[in-house]
């Protein structure tokens, strides 16, 4: 058992998948790491900041991504998905489909000539922290003029590359597909989609990012003016039997982090967090919240909004009950950030006929090996622990 080197398919290249892959490789096992996006890192790599350290989220991940690419035991398949997965003689046969990128990352030198040449403005740099930095072409809005391909000095741009289908025989599969935001549009009371200043927390994270388009400035999305007030709404779509019954586990800390960051950048912005239970169970998490309980500037109000709607004269109304006082309040905010609508990615993007068994809430059951948010809502630390544990279970061939 101990000397048998395995081949493991890891589905998902975020924190969980990367950590599992590195642990397997360190033990001498072979890994196929399948990531649907352009690059490794998943959701965390796109975060501006990381709690509870308030450090850049990407930096610690950058090393791990680099190690994945460097390690000869790990084959990274980006822009890829598992199409089929069949049991075969105690193993699995997987068919992985690698989409062909229009801009080949191994050739793109990030010079930006395609962006200058594109008449429709659809050639854009990838998000700020992606490694290596490359350009992407939005094929849906592309006019097919190929001006970009003509100016590309390295022939990185080609429109006729074909997708690759790769058959893999693997001993074990680790599900680490992470989470996605689920649309809040059906829940009309949150007003998502009705006004540019009502954002989900991940939208706000990208909007306020220091490396993002506003270079860390806190601005309204509607008119790029500095907001006077921001409401952070917790459990939006979560702990709610109509959409997601689970608690997404990461949102309380995420909102605290964002609100504290807003105060640090622009102290005059009034930040209010409307929460149900302030769940701060990890190391240093409660003390992180205590900064605000002790008057750091962010106001924590226990209450769940009943209605959020744009006001005709500008601003957004939030109607809620302030539970400690029992009063129904209507307050005007300049921005509203909705937090909580995170779901295991597997029910949103299932592997037809090949996915693992899921619970009613869409999480992978103990019948398969999984880690990260697809197993149970988890933050970076929890995901990393689960990933190592999943690596062990794959090495030993035990489930659960």
């Amino acid at each position: 058992m101990a000397d048998h080197k395995k081949t493991v398919l890891v589905v998902g290249g975020g924190v969980a998948g990367i950590s599992a892959a590195l642990d397997l490789a360190a033990g001498g096992h072979r890994v196929h790491l399948v990531e649907r996006g352009h690059d490794l890192g998943g959701q965390v790599a796109r975060l501006d900041k990381f709690y509870p350290t308030d450090h850049c989220a990407f930096c610690p991940l950058w090393t791990e991504i680099r190690r994945c690419k460097e390690d000869e035991s790990i084959t990274v398949h980006t822009l890829s998905r598992v199409e089929t997965l069949e049991p075969r003689e105690g193993k699995h046969q997987a068919l992985v489909v690698e989409s062909a990128p229009v801009v080949e990352p191994s050739l793109c030198i990030n010079c930006g000539r395609c962006e200058t040449a594109c008449p429709k403005g659809v050639a854009k740099p990838i998000w700020e922290h992606a490694y290596p930095p490359v350009y992407l072409i939005d094929r849906d809005r592309c006019g097919d003029c190929r001006a970009c391909a003509d100016v590309c000095p390295t022939k990185a741009i080609a429109f006729d590359r074909e997708q690759r289908k790769i058959e893999l025989d693997v001993d074990e599969v680790i599900w680490a597909a992470g989470f996605d935001e689920v649309s809040l549009a059906p829940m009309k009371e949150y007003g998502w989609g009705t006004h540019p200043d009502i954002l989900t927390s991940l939208e706000f994270e990208a909007w306020k990012a220091e490396a993002g388009e506003n270079r860390g400035k806190i601005l309204r999305r509607s008119d790029r003016a500095v907001p006077r007030s921001i409401a952070f709404i917790q459990c939006a779509g979560a702990r709610d039997l109509r959409l997601l019954p689970h608690c997404s586990a990461v949102c309380c800390m995420h909102a605290l982090k964002q609100a504290q960051w807003v105060k640090r950048r622009t102290p005059e912005v009034d930040c209010v967090i409307l929460y149900t239970d302030l769940r701060t169970v990890g190391r240093d998490y409660y003390e992180y919240a205590l900064r605000d309980f002790n008057g750091n500037g962010v106001r924590l109000v226990r209450g769940r909004p009943s209605m959020i709607y744009p006001l005709p004269g500008g601003g957004i109304a939030v109607r809620y009950e302030d539970t400690p006082t029992g009063k129904r309040e209507i307050r005007k905010f300049d921005m509203v950030v909705l937090n909580g609508n995170l779901q295991s990615a597997l029910p949103l993007r299932p592997v037809p006929g090949a996915g693992p068994e899921l619970t009613g809430e869409g999480f992978v059951t103990a019948a398969s090996v999984s880690c990260g948010f697809v197993m149970e809502p988890a933050d970076v630390t929890e995901s990393a622990i689960q990933a190592s544990s999943a690596a062990l279970r794959s090495i030993l061939g035990t489930k659960g």
Partner: protein, 568 residues
């Protein structure tokens, strides 16, 4: 003399349009240390690394200077390419001519060229003056010590043994199992505690690779990753071991609530563990049970959430409702901490079963009434704004897990830091079971309050991390870096210049510097395996005795001298 090869990248004009690569080439070619200067269109595209490597080999070059882009651009791809060709990337230095010069200073070509020249000169100064650290290889002892045989320690030990590594598993108790042995139902599966770990306990007895030492403590630890010399104090005297890795899984204790909410004064005021005992020996005889959360937690003294107390109360409140006929249960809380899907469903279940939840504010804690025996709890309901009196004959205090002083003592022995609450600190949140001392891993509640399930997952995680280290036959000090092949070097102490002041010992975050007595005086000695080449020691040494040969003071001085020089 060191021969230096220089590759300059034009990046299809991205660099060459601003930076005059030809004049840089001419200038460098007159430098006697430079063997060749090659200007290339690219360095990062397929095939480039092989061509560069061929040139390096053909000229017998020891050190390489790359003038290309930023490490956050494609420089890492260049280095990776060279590494895959077999070039030792520690001999390669890089200058960012694209993002750092041509792009940001594109409107000031003179300035951009001067900055490029300065940076190239600085790196050449580095390559001319740098020296190599002498590497040290140590043989890895292919066995592990696991301290603590609770859920986390058991799963670490069994994980390691199943992967084929011999494990010494010690516990201060007589048998493995830890606190879980005393829990009749564990949350959320409601499996009896001992059953949850039965397979692991069984394996501990059955697997020949695991040796269990009951009633045993660690007397001392010496050494470093790969070769720790451990002395164990057990019932049969001391045992000496040499192990490659140590897993610390000593657990935590529940706070004893003396003086809190009438505990110790009123009958019927008990702790969660006392409630477990009542369930173990029958059923609590009560008409009503009230649970108070955060008893001694999330206050000024212990400003943290202990994670497990909310689910524990949910479990025991549901047991009261289910198993004690006619009895009611109420949980007085500040926030119900049930993150995730499983625990949130557990919370919903308790709500459906009729467990009453009343939220109170920290500033207005519940008050306990009674005379000799608890009779009622008065609580200000923060939601309704009313004061409620709940008659009860049983009050259960949900107290937090607190760090075990023995763990802190072990942490000192193993030279790893504890946090301000006494729990053992990980190296970084992304590496949650690794510590600042390579080869020492942590799991379970010694690290931070967690459920038994989480503790077991951490045990497995620690096993995997320890195994990847133990699986290597030897490790060389220069590979002891998170990113293989990138450790700069390690500090060396010049015994003649050292006056034994101990500054380096005080400042080293990795406990790599030691004072060693030689004859009449003490001199510093560096444990190379532990050194991470951070340079702290060199910066505080008043005598220049502590140096990292790669980045010695001559290197640094020569680089600074060239940093802002006018270049013709």
């Amino acid at each position: 003399m060191t021969k230096i090869g220089v590759f300059l990248c034009n990046c299809f004009g991205e660099i060459g349009q601003v930076i005059d690569l030809e004049s840089i080439r001419k200038r460098l070619e007159s430098d006697p240390a430079v063997d060749f200067v090659t200007v290339r269109e690219s360095l990062c595209l397929p095939g480039d690394a092989a061509e560069a490597h061929a040139r390096i080999r053909e000229r017998g070059i020891a050190r390489v200077l790359l003038g290309a882009c930023s490490p956050y651009g494609r420089m890492e791809i260049v280095r990776l390419g060279l590494a895959k060709e077999g070039v030792d990337v520690r001999t390669v230095r890089a200058v960012d001519l694209r993002e750092g010069c041509a792009w940001v200073h594109g409107k000031d070509p003179r300035g951009a060229n001067r900055k490029a020249a300065n940076q190239i000169d600085m790196e050449l100064a580095f390559l001319r003056n740098t020296q190599d650290s002498k590497d040290v290889a140590i043989a890895v002892r292919r066995e592990a010590l696991v301290i603590g045989a609770g859920p986390s320690g058991l799963s670490a030990a069994c994980g390691l043994a199943r992967m084929g590594f011999p494990v010494h598993l010690i516990d201060r108790g007589t048998a493995p199992g830890g606190t879980l042995n005393r829990v009749t139902k564990s949350y959320p599966t409601e499996e009896p505690g001992p059953q949850k770990i039965a397979a692991l306990v069984d394996e501990t007895g059955r697997n020949p690779l695991i040796r269990f030492y009951g009633k045993t403590n660690v007397a001392s630890v010496k050494g470093y990753a790969g070769d720790f010399k451990v002395s164990l104090a057990g019932p049969e005297g001391n045992t000496s071991l040499r192990v490659g890795a140590v897993v610390l899984a000593t657990g935590a204790r529940l706070l004893f609530p003396q003086g809190l909410y009438g505990y110790g004064k009123l009958k019927g005021v008990i702790t969660q563990m006392e409630m477990e005992r009542q369930f173990a020996t029958g059923k609590p005889a009560c008409r009503s049970a009230v649970f108070i959360q955060c008893a001694g937690a999330r206050n000024a003294e212990r400003p943290y959430c202990s994670t497990i107390c909310c689910p524990l109360s949910l479990k025991n409140a549901m047991r009261i409702v289910d198993e004690v006929p006619g009895a009611k249960a109420a949980i007085l809380h500040r926030d119900i901490m049930t993150p995730g899907s499983v625990l949130e469903a557990y919370y919903r279940r308790a709500l459906h079963k009729g467990v009453r939840f009343i939220r109170f504010d920290a500033e207005r804690p519940p008050e306990v009434r009674g005379d000799g025996q608890v009779s009622a709890v008065e609580v200000f309901d923060a939601i309704s704004g009313k004061t409620r009196t709940i008659e009860t004959d049983l009050l259960v205090l949900s107290t937090p897990l607190v760090a075990d002083p023995e763990s802190a003592a072990l942490a000192r022995m193993l030279e790893i830091p504890v946090d301000r609450h006494g729990f053992i600190a990980e190296v970084y949140p992304v590496h949650p079971v690794e510590t600042r001392n390579d080869g020492v891993f942590i799991c379970g509640t010694a690290r931070w309050p967690v459920s038994s399930d989480q503790a077991m997952a951490q045990g497995e995680a620690a096993a995997v991390k320890a195994a990847s280290f133990l699986g290597r036959q030897t490790v060389s000090a220069l590979t002891m870096s998170r990113v293989p092949g990138t450790k700069l070097g390690h500090a060396t102490a010049n015994a003649e210049a050292c006056t034994g002041c101990g500054n380096c010992v005080a400042v080293c975050p990795y406990h790599a510097c030691r004072l060693q007595r030689t004859g009449q005086r003490s001199v510093s000695r560096v444990i190379k395996v532990r050194c991470k080449a951070c340079g702290s020691c060199a910066s505080v040494c008043p005598n220049g005795a502590m140096q990292i040969p790669e980045q010695n003071y001559r290197v640094t001085g020569e680089m600074i001298r060239r940093a802002f020089r006018e270049v013709r």
